[in-house]
């Protein structure tokens, strides 16, 4: 799939990273860590950077993850922008307020990730060309029910995608924290869209939920996992397996996510 090649092309070589420390500082400024009260107690900034081993070896991995995330945010951002600009699609009032909120966040994520990638010395991937009808199989911009179906699939996928990448950012604290901060926003969106569709905000077993077409099942496969960190959770709690599977969201690999997203990408 072409999207894989494009993402890999943007991997950068370690030797290209000359002023790594200054880039890390640029990223800190970008996220405004230390400025807002909310983040004041998190020890980042010059002090933290000076104690952290300055090594650029992991930066290609970090950039790879950020460009992967950017691709997903392009997809979500364009989807919701097209949705809110489609006449007579989203009902006025509550629904419109919800999707305007989600659209704003996804567009903000695109802008944020582009800046983050550049602050690490990378080049943001270009926005792919999307076809949200998947060759005419869906009509999300004229049929609100279908708009909601794809929104749920995108948000639940987004949650799993970020979760799957957290480990790849473990050596770069600021990028990891920012990714987690996006991850939980995607989860808030997912919960809200699911509830708007009459479902629970959480995923039971590996169920895609009422009204979701079979083609979206890949988004939910594996959510029925009961083993966490080697512990079979059914053996340590009286809570039933439905509750346990709801209580733990599962990751997707990059390839699994790109296979799902690739359905909507015409040209990368």
């Amino acid at each position: 799939m072409k999207i894989f090649e494009v993402l890999n092309k943007y991997d950068i070589k370690t030797e290209e990273l000359e002023s790594f420390t200054s880039r890390r500082e640029a990223f800190k400024k970008l996220t405004n860590f230390g400025k807002s009260v909310a983040f004041a107690a998190i020890p980042v900034g010059i002090l933290a950077a000076s104690t952290q081993k300055v090594s650029a070896a992991h930066i290609p991995t970090v950039l790879n993850v950020l460009n992967f995330a950017l691709t997903l945010e392009y997809l979500e951002g364009e989807y919701y922008t097209m949705g809110i600009n489609s006449p007579n699609l989203i009902p006025a009032g509550k629904d419109r307020a919800i999707f305007e909120t989600i659209e704003k966040h996804e567009v903000d994520h695109v802008a944020f990730l582009k800046k983050a990638i550049m602050s690490y010395g990378g080049t943001p991937v270009a926005k792919p060309t999307f076809d949200f009808t998947v060759g005419g199989a869906f009509s999300p911009f004229t049929n609100y029910e279908q708009f909601l179906i794809l929104a749920q699939a995108f948000e639940d996928t987004g949650v799993r995608a970020y979760k799957g990448q957290a480990g790849n950012l473990i050596a770069e604290n600021d990028a990891l924290t920012a990714a987690l901060q996006i991850h939980s926003v995607e989860a808030r969106h997912a919960s809200e869209v699911r509830r708007l569709r009459g479902l629970k905000g959480w995923i039971t077993q590996a169920e895609r939920g009422a009204g979701m077409p079979e083609v979206t099942q890949a988004v939910y496969n594996g959510e029925d996992n009961l083993i966490q960190g080697g512990v079979n959770v059914t053996t340590v709690t009286p809570i039933g397996s439905d509750g346990i599977t709801e209580a733990f969201d599962e990751p997707l690999t990059r390839d699994e996510v790109l296979t799902i997203a690739g359905l909507f990408i015409v040209a990368a």
């Binding site: 992991h58 959480w202 959770v233 709801e246």
Partner: protein, 245 residues
């Protein structure tokens, strides 16, 4: 720092110093670790009674609780928060607020189940390193009143999200980071659902009070989170050994 957790890694993680301790620990729990991956049944000293124990209103002594250090400390921090949430929702479902709708009843039952599952899982994962059962003070909550219950739930869920978001970078083990990631998104799903039924503004599920101009949710340090949770926790939580970066 990225690495896979092995039984060798657990030794420094647990703060073991004596060679004898280390040998016994490996002998004792090596098999358990091999079979369970991350199960942390170790040999860390049982916490001694500490002089700065608090007294409850009834004069009953409540122990101070050190969370420990390294990844164990962070997991105990998460375990303390999950104990708090589980205790709260157990009280909510034991005495559902007046006028609760059938769908809200299901939501409260579901969230209770999730928080109990998180709590029980973390306790099992921590094994002998787990902190004690904490005592809680929910006297500020009127469990008969919808707005009081849901406002408290909103506080706890948003706090949980910010806590896990801030704690991720403090973990050394990618395995624990993944587990924290699996839990935090469920807390965020809860937060959105509670906000959606409590607040009149339909934007509240991801409101501008929690999401910044970059579209990022909040991330709090353990110190901040524990300060905010302190009014609800009777025990004094000692977090001074937690990692800070």
């Amino acid at each position: 720092m990225s690495k896979q957790t092995t039984s060798e890694d657990l030794v420094p993680m647990l703060g073991l110093q004596k060679v004898g301790d280390r040998r016994n620990f490996l002998k004792f729990s090596g098999a358990a670790i091999a079979s369970t991956g991350i199960l942390l049944s170790g040999c860390q000293e049982v916490f001694e009674e500490l002089p700065n124990a608090r007294k409850t209103g009834k004069g009953q002594e409540v122990r101070a609780v050190p969370l420990g250090k390294g990844d164990i400390g962070i997991l105990n921090y998460a375990y303390a928060l999950e104990q708090l949430e589980a205790a709260f929702y157990l009280m909510v479902v034991a005495n559902m607020y007046a006028g609760i709708s059938p769908s809200e009843k299901v939501m409260m039952e579901d969230i209770k189940n999730h928080e109990v599952a998180h709590r029980d899982f973390l306790k099992a994962a921590l094994g002998k390193n787990a902190i004690i059962d904490l005592s809680f003070d929910f006297s500020s909550v009127n469990f008969n009143e919808r707005s009081s219950v849901l406002a408290t739930a909103k506080t706890f869920e948003d706090l949980g999200v910010a806590a896990y978001n801030g704690a991720g970078q403090l973990l050394e083990s990618a395995d624990y980071l993944l587990i924290a990631g699996k839990i935090v998104s469920v807390e965020a799903r809860h937060a959105a659902a509670i906000r959606s039924i409590l607040d009149a503004d339909p934007r509240s599920f991801a409101g501008a009070d929690v999401i910044d101009a970059n579209g990022l949710d909040r991330a709090f340090s353990p110190t901040m989170v524990l300060e905010m949770a302190a009014p609800f926790i009777t025990n004094k939580i000692i977090a001074n050994q937690l990692p800070t970066s």
